[in-house]
């Protein structure tokens, strides 16, 4: 059923190594989401999954289809580009929202706004 076994051995080893490494990186990123104790600490965890995991798995996929189909297919570069560009934007917005809410609730462990009297953007 699987045509993956048609790969020559060197390509198969490279694809499997990239895939396993990418999956392990993603797993560690999600483990960070599980284990770290504070929201601002957890904010750092997904970037591992996106920068490490996505790039490695997409590279595995590029290599796999390039060898199987005998031509270079760079479709996955779009996914790499899109994910690496959009994740920081999401995380920045989320961080700002969390900061805003924490300040609104006057939590003590969050830095105050530098000049509260002049603000609103």
């Amino acid at each position: 059923m699987s045509h993956l076994t048609d790969l020559p051995p060197w390509a198969a080893i490279a694809v499997c190594a990239l895939l396993l490494l990418g999956a392990a990186t993603t797993l560690i990123g999600s483990l960070g989401l599980l284990r770290l104790s504070d929201f601002y600490e957890r904010l750092h965890a997904p970037t591992i999954a996106t920068s490490g995991g996505t790039i490695l798995i997409c590279l595995a996929s590029i290599l796999c289809f390039a060898v199987l189909q005998g031509r270079w297919v760079f479709h996955e570069l779009l996914i790499i580009f899109f994910v690496t560009v959009t994740t920081p934007v999401t995380l920045m917005l989320l961080g700002q929202a969390a900061l805003y809410r924490d300040r609104f609730e006057e939590r003590q462990d969050v830095p105050r706004k530098p000049r509260p009297a002049l603000d609103e953007e």
Binding site: L27, L33, F104
Partner: protein, 93 residues
Amino acid sequence: MIELAIIWSVLLAQSMLALAMAFALYRIARGPRAQDRILGLDTLYVNAMLLLLSFGIRTANTVYFETALIIAVIGFASSIALAKFLMRGEVIE
């Protein structure tokens, strides 16, 4: 021999990605606050996209890429909308 190794390592990678999805789901269910849940959702969609890519490798089928790309686009839009909602919608009532 090498065929068996390939099949098992792809399976192993897929189960690691599934476990990563489970961790993200735990964070969504557990919270404790709304921003934690959105962060979990963000991680969940990235992990789901990677799982689809690995399905594509396993079955040697390129149809999965379109799905992965669509998940990436829609997940991004929904995370941004939710984060914006947190900033403007819920706190000031």
